[in-house]
């Protein structure tokens, strides 16, 4: 079976929380839509084992990074909606600094011509 190269397990584990928090800054969402959004944005390169997202979401809820609420959608289906909290925004800012630091360092290493003198 052909398998397109995807993120390693470790990288998926490390990036799930910042990805979820970032998608939630666009507005509240639910599990299925979160996964669809990440798949779309990554051009299919980030593919979660879908069910694994829920334990992470629940952990984020107990850590108060997100707030959750059961509500009925317009289509009449009950769903659990997640929304980023104030703590979540602070955590995301920290995550962003760290990811950008890694990204900047790797970028400099991989494109020698852009290294500042």
């Amino acid at each position: 079976m052909y398998k397109r190269p995807m993120l390693s397990k470790e990288l998926v584990a490390a990036s799930t929380v910042p990805l979820v928090l970032s998608v939630l800054t666009e507005g509240e969402s639910y599990g299925y839509a979160l996964i669809a959004r990440v798949r779309e944005l990554s051009g299919g390169q980030i593919e979660w084992s879908e069910g694994m997202l829920y334990p992470v979401l629940h952990w984020m809820e107990t850590e108060r990074l997100v707030e959750a609420e059961w509500r009925e959608s317009e289509a009449g289906r009950k769903r659990k909606y997640y929304r980023i909290s104030r703590t979540g925004r602070r955590a995301l800012a920290d995550e962003k600094d760290q990811w950008l630091a890694v990204h900047a360092t790797l970028s400099r290493l991989w494109k020698p011509q852009t290294i500042p003198a």
Binding site: Y32, S49, G51, P55, E61, T62, A75, R77
Partner: protein, 238 residues
Amino acid sequence: METPNDTGLNEAIRLWRAGLADAGTMRPADLDELEIHLRDSIGQLTRTGLASEEAFLVARRRLGTAGGLTAEFAKVNGHEIWLTRVLWMVGGVMVALLMEKLSSTAANLALFANASIQLEGQPLVWFVLGAQWFPAFAMAALCWMGIRSLPGRLLSRAGSAPRHPWLTTFGAALGLFLVTALSVGTQVLVFRGAGGIAELGTVMVCRSYAMLLAPLVVWPALLCWLLRRRARSVTRSF
């Protein structure tokens, strides 16, 4: 068309959900959320032209294996799994206590009945032992058979007890109280029957009151505390 609504699909989803529930690491709300996800996924796939059976298989695979899912949920739900186990243990102790009271009631009645049969020595001892142990075994067997043959609807009613902590605790306390009262009542009957040693009888009755009332308070209190802890930690489901 939001949900494909055929019986075969609903049955397949029901079985899939029951399989996950068996592992005991997911709360009903977790299962609700996963089921909604599965149905969303199936809806999406059938819109692209898949038959509902194929859509179910693909959606289930995308969601992850049962082993992987239950293991991941166990990591975040560890606290609640522990609470649930202790809850059932306390329930078990209370049932054992209930049976002990009922069987000692039977023993007391046997002693009282002996006043008219007039057994003495060895036969009396065996008579009382038999009267206490036989009902205990009979009740244990009945409990076992009763739980196994209980229809699913009633069993799930019993499973909803944690959602009504005060009611459940009150029921347990009332049940224990009534059975204890019965046991103490028959003990008084025995001492009345013994006559002569009335003073010793009073002392014995007071002592057994103290011994019997302590578990009446301690076990329901522990049960209530556990149920309330659990109710707080379980996310509100629909």
